[in-house]
Amino acid sequence: MTDATSQSGPVLAADGTPLKKSLARALRLQKTRALMLIAPLLVFVMVSFIFPIAKMLFKSVENEIVVETLPLTVAELQNWNAESGALPDEALYAAFVADMVVAIDAKRHTRLGTRLNYEHTGMSSLFRKSGRKIKKLDPAADGPFKEKLIDIDKKWGDVTTWAVIKTHSVKITNGYFLNAIDMQRTPEGAQAQPEDKRILIKLFQRTLFMSLMITVSCILLGYPVAWLLANLPARTANILMILVLLPFWTSLLVRTSAWKVMLQQQGVINEVLVWIGLVADDARLVMINNQFGTIVAMTHILLPFMILPMYSVMQTIQPTYLRAAKSMGATNWTAFWRVYFPLSVPGIGAGSILVFILAIGYYITPEIVGGTKGVFISNRIAYHISSSLNWGLAAALGTILLGVVLLLYWCYDKIVGIDNVKLG
């Protein structure tokens, strides 16, 4: 060894090749084999998870529908200046009719109407109704079209209509992201939404705040339970474990509805309080359809996700640590706070990350018990996915949510250290 280190050149292997090189060669085989082993999973995850999500996220900026449906119109619109206040000329109207006839034939015009209606109310019916009449026009023979179109619907004689089409004619748009943060894309650039339509930023803040509250209450309620689980004799601990896992085996809807029965004004808790005389019959507590009810129901649902990682970490903390601390003169509290608690932090960290990330994406429970003040951003995402079909906005909201989660994860890593997280 002294020989090798005292040499000036690189260390050589027995056959004379540099040691680093032959080590790399030896490891390459191992790495290839490892890669082969995970390849099926990797392919599966790519195909079934990463690819669809990437595709969904791409929808937050994708906006080809306008150019694809109205290619000639979009080209003509480049020559028109919305700020001038003057209507476009005949060439544009002719191009529009030509585009529309093709689109109507392919039944694409109503879809475009729906898309533009997200930005400007009235576009949906404008395209649908006008479509029926434009269908009968022949782009080659029936010109000029300006008067005819304005005749069909006076909105075609409105500068705003054309300005909206022009503003949203780009293939890749920031419009959805602007909408997601209560702004809008206008001919004059990004502008704030009118005050009475601003809701999403508020919901983002509320989602983060509520998720934090839920995480904190999960820690407070889960910690003693996890401690008991880790310290009881195996048989008792198993029974307790079943109780902890019980919520997993009941349907989410059943559990949430059960909370309704418990917490509502004519519910079990209020009945008991009135019966004891703690609460007057005409002043029953409002514990559901608000933030309180949401926090209670979601804490209950997410509690196992907090308890399990805590438990598995606490299980590895040897009881001798506490004894050692006490033998050195620490009171029960000092022994807990200085020794046991720091050792259980990785479990709290893992549980908190799990619970927080799950909470941030929940929408069924807030929908059922949240009332008006307990609604999460996910409820709006669900609404835009399944009701308004504004998938672009939903994707933008989802992307922001993903970004927020990653940011928080990064902060956590900076503050606590991600290697300080143990799931077991």
């Binding site: 879809r111 009235g122 809701i199 004519q266 009701s387 308004s388």
Partner: protein
């Protein structure tokens, strides 16, 4: 040998639906409503044609799912039950196929063409209406004092009728009722609602009872809230209230005033193979004929969408009570009604919904 057989069975199972088309997937809402369809349509149709019908209770997410299926190029549903507003949306998006009422649907027994029989209810080219239902109020007879509420504006009168009300967590219907009770004439409601001032006016009126409202998002919520005594009155679908009153015998009564008619019916997804399309059309033709629509009213208190079905409505199959007086379309109930304005809401839904949600969160 056994393995071979199994493999054969698996292969057959995989290719069977395409090869034989002896199965079809019908999507509906589940619960009592699906049961009424099973009794009135599916069972007789299967008996007649030998087709196995697979039920899927996904109507609540039908629009989103159909869009996803369409993008993936793999539509697995054959016939879908949706509300008219969704049908219009699906038609606009090109996700539902257009159906010609006169050539592809059965005429009435007296020879009246289907388009005439359905009349105004054919609100979209892709949509075959099945039932008329209404969103209306029910109230607890034991919690409203001596004078029962009689008009829609009693909902806004918290002095005469103290207690919570259940309203749906969306602007549709609520905005109209608010304007009606704020002195807007029935004929002007949508003109007013089209303006920002009108929208503010409606929200202001709703604001007078905001603290007394429990907002619902599932049709089953209001009946439960009424049964528990959590609310004194609440809006929901009339069929749900029928079940609370007649089946569960709760102390609840209907307030038909200003009920909003809405339609529920069938669409056929776009992009089916010719064979499946023919099968779906065959089913629709059968399930929307005069007798079948009248039959459904034996199981649920929704009005048949064909004019010619109304006289055929009989008694409830299990309770034995006469169903005609429980139909939202019964003249006694329909003295003051609204018809859901599809055109208006297709345009204004996104805009007003954003405002409504912002107002709710305030």
């Amino acid at each position: 040998m056994k393995t071979k057989l199994t493999a054969l069975a698996v292969t057959t199972a995989l290719v069977a639906p395409a090869a034989m088309a002896q199965e079809m997937t019908i999507v509906s809402w589940g619960g009592a409503y699906s049961k009424s369809q099973l009794k009135a349509y599916h069972e007789p149709y299967s008996a007649k044609s030998g087709v196995t019908i697979i039920n899927d209770d996904s109507s609540a997410e039908a629009v989103a799912k159909l869009r996803a299926m369409n993008e993936a190029g793999n539509v697995t549903w054959d016939v879908v039950d949706v509300v008219a507003a969704d049908a219009i949306r699906l038609c606009d998006e090109g996700l539902a196929m257009e159906i010609d009422a006169d050539t592809q649907l059965a005429a009435a027994p007296d020879g009246t063409s289907a388009s005439e029989d359905f009349g105004d209810l054919l609100v979209s080219d892709c949509f075959i209406p099945q039932i008329v239902y209404s969103t209306t109020f029910g109230y607890r007879t034991d919690l409203v004092g001596d004078t029962a509420p009689s008009t829609i504006c009693d909902v806004f009168d918290t002095e005469a009728y103290p207690g919570k009300r259940a309203l749906e967590k969306r602007p549709i219907n609520n905005m109209e009722w608010a304007l009606l009770c704020d002195g807007v004439a029935k004929g002007d409601v949508y003109d007013v609602l089209a303006t920002p001032e009108g929208q503010d006016k409606a929200l202001a009126k709703l604001g007078t009872i905001k603290d007394d409202v429990i907002w619902w998002s599932a049709g089953a919520d209001t009946p439960q809230l009424l049964a528990d005594g959590e609310v004194v009155m609440g809006s929901t679908y009339n069929g749900r209230l029928f079940a609370v009153i007649e089946e569960q015998k709760q102390p609840v009564a209907m307030l038909w005033d200003a009920q909003v008619f809405d339609l529920d019916g069938w669409i056929i997804p776009a992009g089916l193979s010719d064979e499946r399309k023919a099968q779906a059309l065959d089913y629709i033709m059968f399930a929307t004929d005069t007798q079948r629509l009248a039959d459904q009213a034996k199981y649920i208190s929704y009005g048949p969408a064909r004019a010619s079905s109304a006289p055929l409505v009989g008694k409830h199959a299990e309770l034995g009570i006469d169903m005609a007086p429980h139909m939202p379309t019964d003249p006694n109930n329909a003295q003051n009604t609204f018809l859901y304005n599809y055109e208006f809401w297709a345009d204004y839904r996104d805009d007003i919904d954003a405002k409504f949600q912002a107002w709710l969160a305030k």
